[in-house]
């Protein structure tokens, strides 16, 4: 689980200059529909580039690969009750069967169908990942905007809180929080949000600060717009791309951290999720008896989802950051043969 935290933290500084890609369109639409005609001048100027950015994403190979993988998993999660209407934990076969025609991914030491467990596991894992991602990004937005808009004492206090939470070692904090709270899905989500919001808050604050100093915000203040309106209508739409990048990173964190927490047996072990599948695999000695088919599928699924989200994130960077894009083109033109095998290699490993 920490892998995602580690990569998030180490790549965040690099990602910060990322431009406003997909998120631009998302937030643009979300903000655009309710306010109808009033937001036209800024809306029009935002919408045109965002349309081309959407186009850029749709023609970007990385983004499409990532979206395709993600789509498959979401479809599997939604279709799980149709594909396997039975309770996935039900014992249906002999213990520790190797993959064969009847059980495509074999059975666990208890005799449960691994494929059914894996597909049903997608439901809880994606649900928690998405919830944690959206919730921590939302808190990050609130804290970041409040810091940047009000400044002074409020900024000092919020920044201090953010930095303290960033510095406290995440997983041990997760463990003791989960140990004291009653086990359950709600606890897992709550604990992950508590430990996950700080990273997004820091990134969003620095972006909001730079927009806060722009002239149009000063103009809005002088015209007497209310603080909430300035924060959410003037500043927020202009940092949509960073919000998008943060959201993706938070979802990756949520999925990975949930798996880690459940692997330690700190989730609700009676539910079916990828992390719990791995917990039971470890508990039933799948490693020592050589039943690789019990622990490989769930881990691979976590990795594939995280990888697809990173691909989309990377693509947003590429589409919106002209510097990365230009260099890419120049490089591709210069050294065509070297870039090609990399792309195919990645697809093969994915």
């Amino acid at each position: 689980m920490t892998s995602s935290i580690a990569t998030t933290a180490s790549t965040v500084p690099g990602e910060t200059p990322a431009g406003g890609g997909l998120s631009g369109t998302v937030a643009g639409n979300a903000a655009g529909t309710p306010d109808g005609g009033t937001g036209l001048p800024p809306g029009a100027s935002v919408r045109r580039p965002s349309r081309s950015l959407l186009h850029g994403l749709l023609t970007n190979k990385k983004a499409m690969t990532g979206a395709a993988i993600l789509f498959v998993f979401i479809a599997l999660a939604l279709l799980a009750p149709v594909l396997y209407p039975d309770n996935p934990s039900k014992i249906t076969g002999m213990a520790s069967q190797e993959p064969d025609a009847e059980f495509w991914l074999g059975t666990t030491a208890k005799g449960q169908d691994v494929l059914a467990l894996t597909i049903h596991g997608a439901r809880s894992s994606l649900l928690v990942g998405l919830t944690v991602g959206f919730a921590s990004t939302f808190i990050g937005i609130l804290v970041g905007l409040a810091s940047a808009y009000f400044g002074k004492f409020i900024d000092e206090a919020l920044s201090l809180a953010t930095n303290v939470f960033l510095l406290l070692p995440g997983l041990p904090l997760l463990v003791i929080l989960a140990a004291f709270l009653p086990p359950g899905l709600g606890t897992v989500i709550l604990v992950l949000v508590v430990t996950g919001w700080a990273g997004s808050a820091r990134v969003l604050r620095s972006q909001a600060l730079s927009i806060r100093s722009k002239d149009f915000v000063a103009a809005a203040v002088v015209t007497g717009e209310r603080p909430l309106r300035i924060m959410f209508r003037e500043i927020l739409p202009n940092m949509a791309s960073i919000v998008m990048g943060t959201l993706l990173a938070c979802i990756i964190y949520g999925i990975g951290a949930q798996a880690g927490l459940e692997f330690l047996g700190l989730g609700d072990v009676s539910t079916v999720s990828w992390g719990n599948n791995l917990y039971w695999a470890g508990n039933e000695g799948a490693l020592l008896t050589g039943s690789w088919w019990v622990f490989v599928p769930s881990g691979l699924c976590i990795a594939l989802v995280a990888f697809s989200l990173s691909l989309i994130n990377y693509a947003v960077d590429e589409v919106t950051n002209p510097r990365l894009r230009k260099i890419k083109k120049a490089r591709a033109a210069l050294k065509k043969p070297t870039t090609k095998p990399a792309a195919t290699g990645k697809r093969a490993s994915a």
């Binding site: 990569t7 406290l168 003791i176 330690l264 050589g290 976590i302 990399a342």
Partner: protein, 325 residues
């Protein structure tokens, strides 16, 4: 100097927050976990030990401020109570016997990952579009997407169980007496390979990409062009001119990633039953050993904060701009 003092103040606040968190958690959690713990273990303990633990964990009728002051005093003097799962050993002793293994595992993995990752990043940025630059990053991002513990399970299964190249659990063989002999050291080394390898593999990508990105920016600076125009050797330009200046963000993330390494080491330790603080933390959780849990959390936090402070001092040494301001 002012910079250092500011940072020191910040770390003290962070430490205070974690102590306060420890104080509040058992007192305001629903379901009263502490009473459950006492119900399970009461008969083994001396009355005065129970009394001390009650106070530590908040089963206490005194006003909350008095409890808090008492708690802070206890923590400052290192009185963390006795461990329940390893009764009657004091918490501090349990931790002391384990912290070394985590430092060994985490330290080895972190240093290897940082050195190799940064070198790869330097090379990738120096030969943009070359083999290292185009093939490694996607591969490492993919590897980095796997959960730590899952890679650890895979390595354990492949190299430990199936191939039998490396031992599969614990930090040294039961048959060897711990000593400073060659036999014991090499045994410890063999046990270290798999856990360290998994941590290195997962964290390598972050280091490499971070270094590569800053290095690309540095390579575009005028003084690099100037150095090339002067006819300096490429190796000298790469390391003394470009890499040296691109190093600073890496130093910062070295401190930041310590916390993550501790977390990663926690899961890896659990998979390999490596006797470090992470493995002990899980045991404490499973044994409802709240005093030990809290002690371990404080120790880990203190270690991370201290390491970050050391990095700050190093940073002042490396970056003259911080010293000047």
């Amino acid at each position: 100097m002012r910079f250092i003092l500011r940072r020191l103040g910040f770390y003290l606040i962070a430490f205070w927050v974690s102590i306060t968190l420890n104080f509040l958690l058992p007192r305001f959690m629903p379901g009263d976990p502490v009473s459950r713990m006492f119900a399970r273990t009461q008969d083994r303990m001396q009355p005065e030990q129970i009394e001390a633990l009650r106070k530590l964990l908040g089963v206490d009728s005194r006003p909350i401020w008095e409890q808090y002051a008492d708690y802070l005093h206890n923590m400052a003097t290192g009185q963390m109570g006795v461990s329940i799962s390893r009764f009657p050993t004091p918490v501090t002793e349990v931790i002391a016997s384990q912290v070394g293994w985590t430092l060994l595992l985490g330290g080895t993995a972190l240093v290897i990952a940082a050195v190799v990752g940064n070198l790869l990043g330097i090379l990738a940025a120096w030969r943009r579009g070359g083999a290292i630059d185009s093939a490694l990053p996607p591969f490492l991002i993919f590897i980095g997407s796997f959960p730590y513990f899952w890679l650890a399970m895979g390595a354990l299964y492949l190299f430990g169980v199936t191939l039998g190249w490396f031992p599969i659990r614990h930090a040294f063989s039961d048959t060897i007496e711990p000593s400073f002999s060659w036999d014991f050291m090499s045994d410890v080394g063999m046990h270290l390979v798999l856990p360290a390898l998994t941590i290195v593999l997962v964290s390598l990508g972050g280091w490499m990409l971070g270094m590569r990105n800053t290095m690309i920016a540095t390579n575009a600076e005028d003084y690099i062009t100037m150095a090339e125009a002067k006819g300096l050797r490429p190796g000298r330009i790469m390391f003394r001119y470009a890499a040296r200046n691109a190093m600073l963000p890496s130093v910062t993330s070295f401190g930041m990633s310590l916390g993550f390494v501790v977390g990663g080491a926690l899961l890896t330790e659990v998979v390999f039953a490596y006797p470090g603080v992470g493995y002990q933390l899980l045991n404490a959780v499973q044994g409802l050993d709240y005093p030990l849990m809290q002690g371990l959390f404080l120790t880990i936090t203190a270690a991370v904060l201290l390491a970050n402070f050391l990095v700050d001092i190093l940073y002042v040494r490396l970056d003259p701009r911080v010293r000047a301001s």
